[in-house]
Amino acid sequence: MPAITKVVLRNFKRFDKLDLLLKPGLNVLLGDNEAGKSSVLLAIDLALSASRSKVESLGVEALLNAAAVDRFMGSRRLVADLPKALVEIFLTEGADPSLNGRNNVDRRECDGIKMEIAVPRELQDEVKELLQDPDAPFPFEYYAPRFATFAEDSQIAFKKHVRHLLLDSSRIDSEQATRIYTQSLFSVNADAKARSRLESSYRKAKDEFRDAHLKEINEVLTDYTFGVRTSSKTNLGTDLVILEDQLPLDVRGKGRQCFVKTSFALRRGGEGTQPLHLLLLEEPENHLSHSQMRKLVERLSQAEGRQLLVATHSSMICSRLDLRKAALLGTDPAKRGALSDLSESTAKFFMKAPDNNVLQFVLSKKVILVEGDAEFILFEELYAKHAKGSTLAEDGVHVISVGGTSFKRYLELARLLGVRVAVVRDNDKHWQKNCVDNYAEFRMDNARVFADPDDARSTFEVCLYEDNKELCDQLFGTSRKSLSVLDYMLANKADVAFELLDKGATELRAPKYIQDAIAWIRQ
């Protein structure tokens, strides 16, 4: 069973250079918008399909790295310098020598398939002449894709070494996407022999229909008769639909379509079927409700015996599926696979922990971790106040509420990813033990724990109250009968925070340790 070990992109879409390592089984691609998750899936799909028409329908202009084009246009514009888009798919070693060779960027002897979009050699003279005109536009229309294996075997389109399917849920209900999906699932579930048998009986059935039911009409006609169309546009492949409970899939809601299409593609076929080797899923969370998404995650995590590449925005999908399988796009390449070194217990923690913001953490450069909702609600305001007029957004700092004190899990991530993290926590009456000794194993430059060193000031609310006594008494003192102001604040943390934000924002001052945290994170 072939699996992708590495994807190499050169001048493809937004990547001038990408070397992405993949593992067998599940892989999760994480990245912000525009980080290039879909481009990676597209590149794999194009190279493995080895289809010129797919490339042509997308257009070379959309595939060739725009910066490379600009660089070329700003250069001496020599034909030899024309940029080429390159996609190389490195595969696990199989038994077919026609896949194996050194014709790849690594010059390493291994199995693989590549796609190069370049100006073919026989057109170069023509392009050279064209480029002599200083006003000539970039010669996109001379570009053509070329597909080959690493052994420089160009018969790949006929051989289909890797059976794959791309499911893009953002285009899930487009007619063409549905047709492609249906056809590839059909070919997975029926081999070539079975398919041609079914094709011909379908044709026969049309003829029988004509003979049986159009006969009456045709008999009264002279010269011309009616028939039923059979062509490349109307045949079994184009007329097939997938039914669920007798209803065609394309009349279902998008969410249901997403779910069904993904699960159907993941199904293990029976005897005589050719299972997919690789499933590419583009943002499977689209159109899915929370509960459907949980079900989908379960299906994905149980998909054994094939390679899965999931591009996602969803914290839930990536953490529930095991963070160790994640590759980060749009970050420092050295950090890309860093999550695979995550300890098993931390990976499992995020799989089991309540829904969290781990994806946001992973994708950030600077993060302030806080214990709970109260800190989270007030932090933006406090930050603005003590950051010399700057804001969280301006400084690119994210505040994440951990909902407890599981900071160490995040610190482990921070260590792997180099995220700058300020942990803001309560001392819980024992500063030395809870806030110093507790984090002895995480002494590193990019992380620091901030807490009030005075054991008496044990929680955020206590500190807040003591440092803003007047304001708090004024806001919460008047109507209190049984509880002291501080006790009230401790008992209604989130509401108090919200009220402080709402009514006391201008006067509110952050406790010293929080000011320190803000100053440090901004460095």
């Binding site: 038994a95 026609s98 194996n100 060779g101 050194r102 014709n103 050699r121 420089e152 075997d153």
Partner: protein, 344 residues
């Protein structure tokens, strides 16, 4: 080291011996030089395994050299587009071994220098590793046709761990895979020295297993041994005979006889009959009666009883032609076919 080279006589069942030796539980590669034998091999292997799975790959030598060795390892360096089967130009031959220009005919690669290029680029070890990765047993048919750099290449890659079984017939050497200058020019000059090259490379040399012809009858075998000086014995008795034909009437009858194939030195298609060329029919096994048309030089030698003194290449081609006969062998002067030759 499990390497054997078996020298056979014509019709002794070289191809059959390869097909029978194939072990379906092992991954086999069969390399042959002529496309005649390639088709034949495929057919026979398919027959033997009759739909059952056997990991057998059949490839012609140049397809193997190009698709398995050259392209996977060197295509990106050379950026060649296709193979040139021309003789190398003098300019290219003056280039140093390290120069790309020595190997290229425009943007195509010289067929006769591909093996040398692999050597110069230090690829022998990688090719051996590739062979071992994909195959357990490697069979090479028509090994006598390896010439030039290809012969050295063959002996080198045979140092792989895989089991090598080479089969050939020294005297059926009629055209070399390739030649380049003086490289292995005298390789086929002497049978003893030729065998010694294999022995020195670690091969066990077997001259007995395939020593008798199953195709040709005793009369044809005796005739070959007597006139061409090439030792060949018949495996079984047969009534087939050898006849020298000298009258126009007899030649005309043979010419129009669809059951008898007429073999010419060259340009057989000009004679408008069921025909082939001497050398090119190597590997073919389906002719019954055969009529060999002798060109004037050979005919003169035959009449003087000195055919064995013909140039080795001519003698070898005649050997191929004579030994095609399952049935009767007729010999006639080419001049009597002249009236059937188109354009005359």
């Amino acid at each position: 080291m499990d390497k054997t080279v078996t020298f056979a006589v014509a019709g002794s069942g070289k191809t059959r011996s390869i097909v029978e030796q194939i072990d379906p539980s092992r991954r086999s590669l069969v390399i042959t030089y002529t496309t005649n034998t390639e088709d034949d091999l495929r057919r026979r292997i398919a027959n033997r395994f009759d739909g059952r799975d056997a990991a057998v790959t059949v490839d012609t030598y140049f397809s193997f050299l190009n698709s398995f060795c050259y392209k996977p390892l060197l295509q990106q360096d050379m950026q060649s587009r296709g193979i040139s089967f021309s003789a190398p130009s003098q300019t290219s031959s003056r280039m140093p071994l390290s120069s790309k220009l020595r190997y290229m005919h425009g943007d195509r690669i010289y067929h006769c220098r591909m093996a040398k290029l692999l050597a110069v680029k230090g690829c022998y070890e990688v090719v051996r590793e590739r062979l071992d990765r994909y195959y357990d047993d490697i069979y090479v048919d028509e090994v006598q046709d390896f010439g030039g750099h290809d012969f050295n290449f063959l002996l080198e890659i045979a140092q792989a761990h895989a089991r090598f079984r080479l089969v050939g017939d020294f005297y059926q050497y009629t055209f070399a895979t390739s030649h380049d200058g003086n490289v292995n020019k005298s390789l086929h000059g002497d049978y003893d020295e030729y065998r010694a090259r294999f022995a020195k490379a670690g091969f066990k040399v077997d001259t007995t297993t395939l020593g008798a012809s199953h195709r040709c009858g005793p009369a044809v075998c005796d005739y070959i041994t007597k006139t061409l000086g090439i030792q060949i014995a018949a495996a079984s008795a047969s009534a087939a005979r050898v006849e020298v034909v000298e009258s126009q009437g007899d030649v005309d009858r043979l010419h129009s006889d669809q059951k008898t194939v007429k073999l010419f030195l060259e340009q057989h298609w000009l004679y408008g009959c069921h025909s082939h060329n001497w050398g090119a029919c190597k590997g073919l096994d389906h002719y019954e009666d055969v009529c060999v048309a002798l060109n004037p030089t050979s005919w003169a030698l035959l009449l003087r009883g000195e055919l064995a003194q013909a140039k080795p290449i001519i003698r070898n081609k005649l050997y191929v032609a004579f030994s095609r006969a399952r049935g009767n062998l007729f010999l006639a002067p080419e001049s009597l076919f002249k009236k059937h030759r188109s354009g005359t």
